[in-house]
């Protein structure tokens, strides 16, 4: 029997099965749809995280106080108080692999402009911050070293903050008040940043940027930097850069291990690892769904064989070999599950698109997942179709003909 006849008969039977065919492949449909949708969202999320990391600027190092405890039970405040903005200024001079660095401190404040106020994240930064993150002002200027030296409350607004408080107006030069836990501090707007959006849990557009030294000098944050960002020189080995930075901090703080230096590569690796774990979980879901789907197919095929026993007898009488009967039923179970796979693929595609849309991720459907979905559903159809098809092909022609 040729492929064309096989496919024709298979689809004829599926059509004749109607609702029953549909219900039997629902397991496959749901399984494939879930996997396609979740893989799509997962890949979209990973893509976004990666593109955000890349948008941070290349070759960034993060320097954070270590979570590790010291001999006294915790890292002493005295040791941490060595984390000054001066270290960020000295780092590029001391470490040849580093081109620029800045210290960071974070706080929250209520921004008051006339009758309006807005709760914002306050990021204490140095001048290098903007260039490290490829982050540019669209109006006015960014924080400059002089602002810090003179302990001025020069405020650069995130795009969203400027929109909310000033609408279309350009607020550069506008006096504002920052209220830190009930303590008002006067400031002046010196710039507005371009829109940049969210990265992990921080939204750049919902923050304001002020000189870190001003926050420290006025006692608005603890007397030290919360963390540092440093940029490595193009073409320098990341591990070398990490080693140089670690050496610099260990020497300046007088004890190793007070800070931890992480490269962007390490973050990317962490993302990749998380994605891998998710893929594994999705694989498990897919496996279970396809198993359940396969059992559904096997069930409906067993019913079909029982119902068509007489037809099988007639086919044998007019010359069908056992192999022909086997192939006919295998073709039917395979066609059934592939149709289920295609329906599931389309449903998953739509679902993935809708979820990505809702979550703000880019929509990704990889050709791999399409091929896998169709391939796996075909394999399920063949695997779970074998038993019913063998049963059909082993019927005794006389018995089958007598069966009504």
């Amino acid at each position: 029997m040729r492929t064309r006849e096989l496919i024709g008969v298979a689809f004829g039977s599926i059509r004749a099965g109607g609702l029953r065919s549909f219900l039997s492949v629902l397991g496959i449909v749901i399984g494939v749809a879930a996997v396609i949708a979740l893989v799509s969202v997962g890949q979209g999320a990973a893509l976004q995280i990666r593109s955000q990391l890349t948008s941070l600027g290349s070759n960034l190092l993060t320097i954070m106080p270590s979570a590790r405890t010291a001999s006294g039970g915790r890292v002493s405040q005295e040791q941490l108080s060595g984390l000054t903005m001066e270290l960020a200024d000295e780092l590029p001079l001391a470490a040849p692999a580093i081109t620029a660095a800045t210290g960071l401190v974070q706080s929250r404040a209520t921004l008051v402009v006339g009758a309006r106020n807005l709760s914002v994240g306050v990021m204490g930064v140095g001048e290098a911050y903007a260039s490290l993150l490829n982050y540019r002002p669209i109006a006015g200027r960014f924080v400059q070293p002089r602002d810090g030296r003179e302990r001025r409350m020069a405020v650069v607004l995130g795009f969203g903050v400027a929109q909310d408080l000033f609408g279309g107006e350009v607020p550069v030069g506008h006096d504002i008040t920052l209220v830190f836990g009930g303590r008002p501090v006067a400031g002046v707007v010196v710039g507005v940043m371009e829109p940049k959006g969210a990265l992990f849990f921080a939204n750049f557009d919902r923050q304001v940027y002020v000189p870190a030294e001003t926050l420290v000098a006025r006692g608005l944050v603890p007397n030290r930097m919360g963390s540092y960002l440093a940029q490595t020189k193009e073409g320098v080995d990341v591990d070398d850069a990490v080693a140089q930075v670690t050496f610099f901090f260990d020497r300046r703080l007088g004890e190793p291990g007070i800070v931890q230096v992480a490269s962007q590569q390490a973050l990317l690796d962490a993302v990749r690892q998380a994605t891998g774990t998710m893929t594994l979980l999705l694989g498990a879901i897919a496996g279970i769904a396809l198993l359940v789907g396969g059992i559904g197919i096997m069930n409906v095929m067993l019913v079909a064989v029982a119902e068509r026993t007489h037809e099988i007898g007639v086919r044998m009488a007019i010359g069908a070999r056992r192999a022909d009967i086997l192939r006919q039923f295998l073709a039917e179970s395979t066609a059934l599950s592939v149709v289920g796979g295609i329906v599931g693929l389309l449903a998953g595609w739509a679902g993935g698109w809708a979820m990505s849309r809702a979550l703000g991720f880019p929509f990704v459907i990889s050709s791999q997942s399409v091929v896998l979905a169709i391939g796996f559903s075909m394999a399920v159809g063949i695997f779970f179709g074998i038993y019913p098809a063998r049963r059909a092909s082993r019927l005794d022609p006389v018995e089958a003909l007598r069966y009504e």
Partner: protein, 251 residues
Amino acid sequence: MGHPASPVAGNGAGTPAIQLQGVTKVYGRGESAVVALRDINLTIAPGEYVAITGPSGSGKSTLMHLLGCLDRPTSGKILIEGQDVTRLSEARLAALRNRRIGFVFQSFHLMPRETVLRNVEWPLIYAGVPPSRRRERALEVLTQVGMAHRVRHRPQELSGGERQRVAIARALVNDPAFILADEPTGNLDSANGEQVLALLEELNAQGRTVILVTHDMGIAHRARRLIRVRDGRVEYDGGVSASQEGRRAVP
């Protein structure tokens, strides 16, 4: 029993179409074993028109299944055109049924979801005939049985007589040597039954061996040779007119 060989069989030097030698068929085993056929010896020559009759349970169905290569005897030999089919593989038997034997059933046994044309094409599909040739041949036999105008219809849109003509077309499509008809008029009114019998006679006139299984003596007497089976044995094997006398003798 006691009728050694058919009188018609000895009419030439050619190989008999069908030969049964000491064929016994037993269903089940041990205590529950049922002997359906006992030591049947039969020879059917090419081109014969034979009716097999007998009451239900006589073994005539079993005999038909054996003649149609749908089943194997428990012991004995069946030779089809000189070939011992009891030793053939399943696949060879399927090929034999496909090419040499055409089945006509009481309930037509057409595939309900498929068109008339497709139904007739199936034996050709199993024979591996390419599509264009297949269509041509199917139309040819449908024309022969007077059903060429209905090729796009499905079986349930046809009358019983029309369905049986389609079934005969299907039986004929691979140009078989034998037509094996099991109560072919059983589900038809007399006019349609007559048409079907006329068709079978025409096929016989073309030189095909026709074996008609029926319990209707009126129909059986249309054949030229009668084989009556009872209790798994051949009770009568001979000319049709002689059988009528024998029948009158035993009411």
